[in-house]
């Protein structure tokens, strides 16, 4: 990340402004002390792209890099970065904001399986009101397989299927798989609440997170 400072560019202020408003995090308070970096458990997996570097990237207006990098998909939401930051910057929320922005800009995630997992999870929870592990895993595996096919990753698909099936079988043997789907009652009202988000997002320019 050999970057020369390009201060004061409009690009920089618009990216940082958008991320700050949506994540509710004051990135201009970051003084690059790297306490977040020393606590981030996925540093080795991101090629040492640590929270401090992500913040610097945003502040400098590196939009492409900020929306397409390993940390936003490798982050495990452990919240260590934020609890250790002397300036109360919760990078995990910045990471979540960038995930949503990347999705809105149709940028293909560097870890498609992670993205497929979370969108399948939410789709399943919205449909039944509760998460049914069987149907959720089915949907997730299907999404992965289709994604893998589109990218011609056949060997990866086969390995994934084996891993998934293996894990499923062990759960089954231990009597830990449930076939009776869980659903909530009065799903019509529940779905109305789920849909309310669209109107709400249109009426406010900020995320609920920005209320800190």
């Amino acid at each position: 990340m050999a970057t020369v400072l390009e201060l004061g560019s409009d690009k920089a202020s618009s990216l940082a402004g958008e991320v700050m408003a949506r994540s509710g995090q004051n990135l201009s308070a970051c003084y690059q002390c790297r306490r977040c970096a020393s606590g981030c458990p996925v540093g080795e997996q991101t090629g040492y792209l640590t929270p401090d570097r992500l913040i610097r990237m945003i502040v400098l207006g590196k939009r492409d890099a900020a929306l397409d990098n390993p940390l936003i998909w490798k982050c495990v939401s452990c919240y260590t970065c934020g609890t250790r930051c002397p300036n109360d910057i919760m990078t995990a929320r910045v990471v979540d904001t960038l995930k949503k922005m990347a999705h809105e800009h149709r940028i293909r995630p560097s870890s498609p399986k992670v993205a497929a997992f979370h969108s399948s999870f939410i789709a399943a929870a919205k449909r039944a009101g509760r998460l049914n592990e069987l149907s959720f895993m089915g949907r997730y595996t299907m999404k992965n397989t289709l994604g893998g096919l589109a990218r011609l990753r056949l060997r990866g698909i086969i390995q994934d299927q084996k891993d998934q099936a293996g894990f499923g079988l062990v759960l089954l043997r231990k009597g830990r798989v449930h076939f009776l789907p869980q659903k909530i009652k009065n799903r019509r009202q529940f779905k109305r609440l789920m849909r309310k988000g669209r109107a709400w997002a249109g009426s406010v320019s900020k995320s609920p997170a920005s209320q800190e």
């Binding site: 949506r22 458990p41 996925v42 080795e44 997996q45 998909w73 490798k74 495990v76 939401s77 452990c78 919240y79 260590t80 934020g82 609890t83 919760m90 995990a92 929320r93 979540d96 995930k99 949503k100 999705h103 870890s111 399986k113 992670v114 997992f117 979370h118 969108s119 999870f121 939410i122 929870a125 919205k126 009101g129 509760r130 998460l131 592990e133 997730y140 891993d163 998934q164 894990f167 759960l171 009597g175 830990r176 798989v177 449930h178 869980q182 909530i184 009652k185 009065n186 009202q189 529940f190 609440l193 789920m194 309310k196 988000g197 709400w200 997002a201 406010v204 609920p208 997170a209 209320q211």
Partner: protein, 292 residues
């Protein structure tokens, strides 16, 4: 004490044993759990990664049901559900317009009155009133426990108070000492197990868990103890595989705090579901004469 109870999805699926244990063990110490009617999925961390509104609305609907009930407190055993419910409560304290938007669609309105509790807090209530030790029929002597808390019990995405020390919580240690066990000092008690990465990004999750396992083994722990169903499932189900990859030659049982309470209270192992673990969970207890 009568409390509301939010089991969450995993306690109604792959981790049903924890659901059973919580109800049995807490009722033995005088706390009766009443499962809330028609609760829904909390959205887990997936909601906050995909949709700002759902990240609050999904857990919030449950807060409404709890607030409309007669109970002043609600026990939430899953650390992730606990984290989401408490975070939503915190957000709605300060965001009136979001609160109004959500309440408009709810029959049971959110008032914010319910105190959300972890299982550890509930057990500690019982400990304070003496209901814990008077039930102990077997001292858990010889159990060298690495108490593993993971992320979600003490760290939140919002700036809010945790129920225990953020990086060195003592809830499980306090309970286990009261039962005669010897919890260890160790360095990875609040490190992340990888959570859903165990399914969608195995290399990352296995690396994180290998560090946790190595530290516990190096300090000569003979078991892990946890209160989170996700942490339990991950460490339990993948320990053998991770051990092979990272050259760790010991596999430790991963107990729920509730099942150790059950053992100390003399509850039959079958009732506690000790046989539904992946790693061998009974040999150690037999060696210590805690289980026939």
């Amino acid at each position: 004490m009568e409390l509301a109870y939010y089991p969450g999805c995993s306690l109604k699926a792959s981790t049903e044993i924890y659901d059973e244990q919580c109800k049995r063990v807490l009722s033995a110490v005088g706390i009766n759990l009443h499962e809330m009617d028609n609760w829904n999925c909390c959205g887990s961390t997936s909601a906050s990664k995909t949709d700002d509104f759902l990240a609050v609305a999904l857990p919030a609907r449950n807060l409404g049901i709890a607030d409309a009930s007669d109970y002043s407190g609600m026990v939430v055993p899953c650390s992730c559900c606990y984290n989401r419910l408490l975070s939503a409560q915190k957000v709605l304290q300060t965001d009136q317009s979001l609160l109004d938007t959500i309440n408009e669609e709810l029959t049971d309105k959110i008032t914010g009155k319910t105190k959300i509790l972890t299982v550890l807090e509930a057990i500690q209530f019982a400990a304070k009133s003496g209901d814990l030790t008077k039930n102990v029929v077997k001292k858990l002597e010889g159990l060298k426990a690495a108490c593993y808390y993971g992320c979600m019990l003490t760290r939140f995405p919002y700036d809010m108070a945790a129920s225990d020390d953020v990086e060195n919580p003592q809830g499980m240690e306090t309970i286990l000492k009261a039962l005669g066990a010897s919890p260890l000092d160790w360095g990875y008690k609040t490190e992340c197990c990888g959570a859903s990465a165990a399914v969608n990004d195995k290399d990352t999750a296995f690396k994180l868990m290998s560090r946790i396992m190595k530290d516990a083994v190096a300090r000569q722990a003979n078991c892990f103890v946890t209160s989170c169903p996700m942490c339990q499932l991950n460490l339990d189900a993948f320990q053998k595989k991770i051990g092979t990859i990272y050259g760790i030659d010991r596999e430790l049982p991963v107990y729920f705090i509730t099942e150790l309470l059950g053992v100390a209270f003399g509850m039959p192992a079958g009732e506690l579901g000790l046989d539904q673990h992946f790693a061998d969970s009974t040999t150690l207890l037999k060696e210590l004469n805690l289980y026939e």
